[in-house]
């Protein structure tokens, strides 16, 4: 599968000189399966520049189709949607998956495009959208890829996605603590979700010090590494940086973790990073 990172920042977008290398756009990842199907993981502000590149393809002519997999509907994971150009072109089809919230998924998108907030209503956007509410344990196909909804430990309703295509496995766990709220042990569900992954994309919001202060639904990069090691993932991408994390701090973090990696290839995900995810890469 070919992967491109369009947004790697958690919580809120952070423009500026200290974030422009690893990126200030909120989460969005582009995945192309073996048969060319487009999966988009989360719709943070990174989905806007992704949308601009899609205009070079069938999406410009209203012949595009994509699967938008949302880990949850907190702002940083949906705020880019009203600015996603291909969604405005009649004929483009979007299959949108997200865990059920206290209001329905379609209601959430109606709220995102509600007149006091945004000038174009959902039904005026041109594209066609079908909404699928998922929960942990659900599985579905996106072209040649099989997607399973897996556990994450975060406030409110979230799912991670385990995506498998031609034997290549990507585990997407962008917003998760490393253990369940009232536990202390590394979560067995998370280990299962990431088991043997060729690429684990994992929440790395907290510093080690912050992680030690107690459960808040996020992990530190050090904890992400523990998960990768226990799950025997081949490769770990650090993801969902805290707004205040600078490029220099991420450089140091990556360097420090690589020293103790042992068996896991570690990279701090950055905007624009694109590569083929290979088996056993």
């Amino acid at each position: 599968m070919k992967i491109t990172f369009w947004g790697t920042r958690g919580t809120y977008p952070v423009p500026g000189a200290e974030t422009h290398r690893y990126g200030g756009n909120t989460p969005c990842i582009e995945l192309r399966t073996h048969d060319g199907t487009l999966l988009i993981l989360d719709a943070g502000t990174g989905i806007r520049p992704l949308g601009r590149t899609l205009f070079k393809e069938a999406f410009a002519k209203g012949q595009g189709e994509a699967f938008l997999l949302l880990s949850h509907t907190h702002w940083d994971h949906v705020q880019g949607f009203p600015f996603f150009g291909p969604a405005f072109i009649k004929g483009n089809r979007f299959h949108i998956f997200a865990p059920r919230q206290e209001i329905g998924l379609r209601e959430i998108f109606l709220e995102l495009t509600y007149e006091p907030y945004f000038p174009v209503p959902l039904d005026g956007m041109g594209g066609s959208f079908d909404f699928h509410e998922v929960q942990v344990g659900d599985a579905f196909s996106c072209g040649s890829a099989k997607v399973s909804c897996v556990t994450m430990h975060h406030p409110w309703r979230v799912v991670g996605y385990r995506i498998e295509d031609q034997g290549v496995v990507i585990a997407y766990l962008p917003n998760t603590a490393i253990h369940a709220k009232d536990e202390t042990e590394l979560s067995a569900s998370l280990v299962k979700a990431a088991k043997g992954a060729d690429l684990l994309i994992c929440d790395s919001t907290l510093t080690a010090g912050e992680a030690a202060q107690g459960w808040c639904g996020h992990a530190s990069a050090e904890q992400a590494l523990s998960l990768a090691q226990r799950a025997k993932a081949k490769r770990l991408a650090l993801f969902h940086y805290a707004p205040e994390r600078t490029d220099e701090e991420i450089d140091s973090l990556q360097a420090a973790l690589r020293k103790k990696a042992r068996g896991v290839q570690i990279d701090a995900a950055f905007e624009g990073w694109t590569f083929q995810v290979e088996r056993g890469s």
Partner: protein, 281 residues
């Protein structure tokens, strides 16, 4: 009075290396009056930086009673609100003003960002500061040594434009305005009255005159509109504001250069609003 730009980008934040000069944060500005009052205007992502600065100034340790004026509730003008540090200070008091929408109250519109589907904060109650919400129409009032005058402006949702006067000098913050169709001339005449004689006009100039036909009805003005209205209003300085997310720093400078060519003798001095810049009157 001192006026500072914390966010100058329209529509959606644009992080990245090519927006470092003029900024990628969505609208937020700050006025400090001679009397020491602090007024924040709009709560785009720029407000996260305004909040950090207030904390650094010592307001993390001491009480503050300040004002937040909202021009309208489109996402780019409120999306920073849940991340504004002073709202978490229990000894802060924030008076929040904005236009009255026909379907939901100002409080409901801001609280709508804080429901569990969208935010781990889950509700306004997670904000520790004392908040009061005030829906206002056109009018004139005082905050300390500042006189504030506001009028409605034509945009795609109900929107106010604020004028600040102190010691005989005035600055107008006029964002998210479109002069469109048959009404355009009448609207310009009305705005001339509101902008008239202000030393500084900060005005929506999202599009060039050449771009505009493609974006008619989007709710924004052209740089040509800005220059014409500032000339008619007798402003000394015009700051182009609400920068198009598709324009990087170089493109913004071309936009300004092209506008300079249309400048007549006695026309206002022209500037691009830049994140971090301060205007002192």
């Amino acid at each position: 009075m001192e006026f500072r730009f914390w966010g100058t980008r329209g529509s959606i934040p644009v992080p990245g290396p090519s927006t470092l000069r003029y900024g990628g944060n969505t609208p937020c500005c700050e006025v400090r009056s001679k009397s020491g009052h602090i007024i924040i205007i709009d709560a785009g992502t720029g407000i996260t930086q305004a909040g950090k600065a207030l904390m650094k100034e010592g307001f993390d340790q001491k009480p503050l009673h300040a004002t937040l004026l909202l021009t309208h509730t489109h996402w780019d003008h409120i999306q920073g609100f849940p991340f504004f540090a002073p709202l978490f200070c229990s000894d802060h008091q924030w008076d929040i003003f904005g236009p009255k929408h026909s379907q939901r109250s100002l409080e409901q519109l801001l609280a709508g960002q804080l429901v569990p589907a969208f935010s781990p904060l889950e509700s306004l109650r997670s904000l520790k500061a004392k908040l009061s919400f005030h829906e206002i129409g056109e009018g004139e009032w005082q905050i300390g040594s500042l006189t504030i005058k506001q009028v409605f402006v034509p945009h795609t949702t109900i929107t106010l434009c604020y004028r600040f006067e102190e010691d005989g000098k005035a600055l107008v913050f006029a964002t998210d305005i479109e002069y469109m169709g048959e009404e355009a001339e009448a609207q310009k005449k009305r705005m001339e009255k509101h902008f008239g004689g202000a030393e500084v006009l900060i005005h929506d100039g999202m599009f060039s005159d050449e771009d505009y036909p493609r974006f008619k009805g989007w709710g924004h003005a052209t740089t040509g509109d800005c220059l014409e209205i500032a000339r008619r209003s007798g402003n000394a300085k015009l700051y182009i504001y609400h920068h198009d997310p598709n324009r990087d720093d170089d493109s913004l400078e071309s936009l300004l250069k092209d506008l300079e060519k249309k400048r007549l003798p006695n026309d206002p001095e022209l500037f691009l609003a830049k994140e971090g810049d301060v205007i002192r009157l």
